[in-house]
């Protein structure tokens, strides 16, 4: 049983792997503590694979995966998982699509059967009616999460400023209404045929089971699915460093107060450079002891304390962004807030990070790491990520050590390298009228 005093790795549980003849990688991490098991599938397809005119398709497709397959009737997938006591979901981001369910462990085999059926048998069950219904659901998701909320479209606006046209991260995963409206059935059938293959997926099972059992069941349910040759890679995301000219957008809209988002491209997730950027973002903008909070929310008191921070978005296939955000306090000019943010970013170079700041950041990151691994679901997704993106689930154990190895000098150097004025994206929201809506 792992405990912090003996944990010399960020992943102190067993990891066993196998690969089926059809290329499906299977990862198992046994933990008998609770009678629950998580089944997680990472498919190496995300919105970065979408060509122009098909934005939002990877995500809309994710919805279709819950609508039945050859042996599973429409609505039956959810009913079988919840009717077994399980929780399930799926998410799509620029890099990948993941599907997962945590079940009472006696239902492990059911979860594997359901996942195999929709990996290998979705296309015959896909109907125009289902597509039309889920298209409307996704359009409502877009309205609810991005359009009807103040600042809700910030991410949609930052991406095209950060990444050039044609870059796989240029457009947001939710896609455009126009492209969603144009989506036709044949395109989705082809999408599944192209990407939903055993050799393009990682199956991870964590919890109350053992590797022998899982390997046997994986062979039983997934073993007969054919590998697909020639799965096309996403467009190359390689970019040399950050922007060479600053980019700026100002939005006047229905927002209660002016808000600024600053962003810089950094390094791809999983690199030492991104580990330094992660620690840098934590020093800068995580918690009340962070520089942003101390100097702008406390200190100068020009930013609202509940809406200030900095964080990285963990994307692996191109330099990932760090985003800094702050919202003005009543009566503060947005120009003053922008100047204040600039000064705090500059301070990371001019006033090198202290050991106390560094230790605080590392302590917060350490707690956050263990919290992420405190459920079988969190562990399964982490192993699936490292297997998919770095070829080895055991590399998950390196991340915490990577963060802890970052020195104060590394943080200063990262700030000097990354937070240059010429590579900065500035997105500003201004309220339509001076009077706030209460």
């Amino acid at each position: 049983m792992p405990s912090p005093s003996v944990a010399t790795t960020g992943y102190p549980w067993p990891i066993e792997t196998a690969r089926l003849d059809n290329g499906l990688r299977v990862v198992v991490s046994s933990d008998r503590t609770a009678p629950v098991v998580c089944v997680n599938l990472w498919y190496d397809v995300g919105s970065r694979h979408e060509p122009a005119g098909q934005t939002g398709f990877a995500h809309l497709f994710e919805h279709l995966m819950f609508e039945g397959s050859v042996h599973v009737a429409k609505t039956e997938h959810m009913k079988l998982v919840q009717g077994s006591g399980g929780s399930l979901n799926a998410t799509t981001n620029p890099d990948r699509t993941n599907y997962f369910e945590t079940m009472p462990s006696e239902h492990l085999e059911l979860a594997l059967w359901l996942e195999a059926d929709r990996m290998g048998g979705l296309v015959p069950a896909l109907t125009q009616e289902t597509l039309d219904n889920q298209r409307e659901v996704v359009k409502n998701e877009r309205r609810q999460r991005y359009e009807n909320v103040p600042y809700g479209d910030a991410w949609l606006r930052l991406l095209p400023l950060l990444y050039p046209p044609g870059h796989p991260y240029h457009h947001a995963t939710i896609g455009s209404m126009e492209d969603l409206n144009a989506a036709d059935l044949a395109t989705f059938q082809a999408f599944h045929t192209l990407y939903y293959a055993p050799n393009n997926a990682v199956l991870t099972v964590v919890g109350d089971t053992d590797a022998e059992t899982v390997f046997g069941l994986a062979q039983k349910y997934f073993g007969s699915l054919p590998a697909k040759p020639d799965i096309p890679p996403a467009p190359d995301g390689t970019l040399a460093g950050g922007l060479t000219e600053p980019a700026r957008e100002t939005v006047v809209g229905a927002v209660p107060a002016a808000r600024i988002y600053l962003s810089h491209r950094t390094h791809p997730f999983g690199t030492p450079g991104y580990d330094a950027a992660t620690v840098l973002a934590t020093v800068l903008g995580s918690g009340r002891g962070s520089r942003l909070y101390q100097r702008l929310a406390d200190g100068k008191r020009i930013a609202q304390p509940d809406y200030i921070g900095a964080y990285g978005v963990d994307l692996a296939h191109a330099p990932a962004p760090v985003i800094v955000t702050a919202t003005v306090k009543d009566g503060v000019a947005v120009e003053d807030l922008e100047a204040g943010l600039g000064e705090v970013l500059d301070s990371l170079v001019d006033e090198p990070v202290t050991e106390a700041e560094l230790d605080r950041a590392k302590a917060l990151l350490t707690t956050s790491w263990w919290r992420g691994l405190s459920t079988v679901g969190g562990r399964a997704d982490t192993l699936g990520r490292y297997a998919t993106q770095f070829g080895d689930p055991a590399r998950a154990g390196e991340r915490l050590g990577g963060w802890l190895a970052v020195t104060a000098a590394d943080v200063t150097q990262a700030a000097a390298e990354l937070f240059t004025p010429e590579s900065r994206v500035t997105l500003t929201y201004l309220p339509e009228q001076t009077e706030e809506t209460a």
């Binding site: 006591g85 406390d298 405190s374």
Partner: protein, 446 residues
């Protein structure tokens, strides 16, 4: 391709077990702890009888201002030193206010839990509450509430609550911008003096082989005195004679935010289990009647849910959704229709089978972390439940019959007495809502 056609059956289930519970009285306070051997993280909470119901009239939000002010310095150190001490452990103080209690919590690697509990207690028991700082925190909280209230939802929730309840329970849980603006530094200091200096209960979830509960309790209860306060009687459950539609204007909104609700019994009501299951069939599970019809058949929404919410003195039934503006009236008709059908004809065995197994399974699936276990301990304490409560609850869920659950739907759902709140573009919606004849349409007073 040869997929296996036959759906596999279930393996043998391991017997359900909630972690071992330790209850102790130390230094005048109670400790309730769950043993999680080998867990890397541990969670501790201080549960105080200082919920929003304790706030004086016109000062709704005082407890939430206090929650923020606790971290603005203590009698031992200033705000910056406090933040650095706590975050240096990898901890952040989380605070929550609900109708029944005020809760502070920390979750950290188990080795630093004692230090984190000391800091949590320092903020809870000996905050500085400098009047100038408290006034600043209050102003910041007003601004934060205005930010929150600019989103769809809070105004609709407030309109529903005001229509269903009187007095403090008819006002928003965390106050509104106006009531919070009226909170003074003296109000905050008085709220602290009145409700934060009794011992309360310390909840601990973690590896008790390496945690010293007596030492944790000594830190948590230092400087406190007094006994637990009595709990007031539950409220009655009056229901409207006719449905009523409250319109909350949100000009230009691309969606309408819907809230439908009525009052319901309190948490300790004997029908708690069948009521919960009826709501699961109607609007809790993904395959619920509401989500199936409104999302999966109609495509009107990204999601809709309905449930009973329970506190010590009252409950309420409510349905929440955001639907595309153009389908507001048909979505309401469908929603009221499903609530009416559930009341009139009850649930089926097929639906109930999913609901009872899901709810029972969630007792394992959703309780893996120390934070989730500490939350379950809070439920035991607040509602005076025994150590074997979760195991008993599981049996009761699995044993519930169609007759019991249908009877609960018949008794506790009131489709004809619903308050229906629509937050959306009133200029577009008003005539359509009047024509839809869901109920009298009036503008919400906020």
């Amino acid at each position: 391709m040869t997929l296996i056609a036959e759906r596999p059956g279930s393996g043998a289930a391991r017997p359900y077990r909630f972690p071992d519970i330790v209850r102790r009285t130390v230094a005048g306070g109670r400790v309730v702890a769950a043993h999680l051997p080998g867990q890397m993280l541990a969670s501790a909470s201080l549960l105080l009888d200082a919920g929003a119901a304790r706030e004086p009239a016109g000062r709704e939000g005082a407890a939430s201002v206090l929650a923020k002010a606790l971290e603005e310095g203590t009698t031992k150190r200033d705000a910056t030193a406090y933040a650095l001490a706590l975050e240096g452990l990898g901890a952040e103080l989380s605070t929550s206010v609900d109708w029944d209690a005020f809760r502070l919590a920390v979750g950290v690697p188990v080795g630093v839990l004692p230090a984190a509990v000391e800091l949590m207690a320092e903020a809870a028991r000996t905050p500085l509450l400098d009047p100038a700082e408290v006034s600043r925190v209050r102003d910041d909280e007003v601004t934060a509430l205005k930010m929150d209230w600019a989103q769809p939802g809070p105004r609709a929730d407030a309109a529903l609550r005001a229509d269903l309840f009187d007095g403090r329970y008819g006002r928003p849980l965390h106050g509104d911008p106006a009531s919070t603006a009226a909170v003074t530094a003296d109000d905050v200091a008085a709220f602290h003096a009145d409700w934060f200096l009794r011992p309360g209960t310390l909840l601990v979830a973690g590896d008790l082989d390496v945690l010293d509960l007596d030492a944790l309790a000594a830190a948590a209860f230092a400087g406190t005195s007094g006994d637990d306060l009595p709990v007031d009687e539950p409220l009655d459950v009056p229901v409207r004679d006719a449905r009523r539609v409250l319109l909350v204007d949100r000009p230009g909104s691309v969606q309408s935010t819907l809230r439908l609700g009525h009052r319901a019994p309190h948490r300790a009501h004997p029908d708690y289990v069948p009521m919960s299951l009826a709501a699961t069939v109607l609007g809790g599970a993904f395959t619920s009647r509401l989500n199936h019809l409104i999302r999966e058949v109609r495509g009107y929404t990204y999601g809709i849910r309905g449930d009973f919410g329970f506190s010590r003195r009252f409950g309420r039934f409510s349905v929440s959704a955001a639907v595309q503006t153009a389908v507001t009236a048909p979505a309401l008709a469908d929603t009221v229709g499903e609530i009416s059908r559930t009341r009139a004809t009850g649930v089926t065995e097929d639906e109930l089978a999913v609901a009872r197994t899901w709810r029972a399974g969630q007792l394992s699936v959703e309780m893996q972390t120390p934070g989730a276990i500490a939350g379950a301990l809070a439920t035991l304490v607040l509602h005076g439940l025994p150590d074997d409560y979760h195991a008993t609850l599981r049996e009761r869920l699995l044993g519930a019959t169609v007759e019991e659950v249908s009877a609960a739907a018949r008794t506790h759902l009131h489709p004809d007495g619903l308050t229906v709140v629509v937050e959306g573009d009133a200029a577009v919606l008003r005539d359509e809502l009047v024509a839809a004849n869901v109920g009298e349409v009036v503008d919400a007073k906020l």
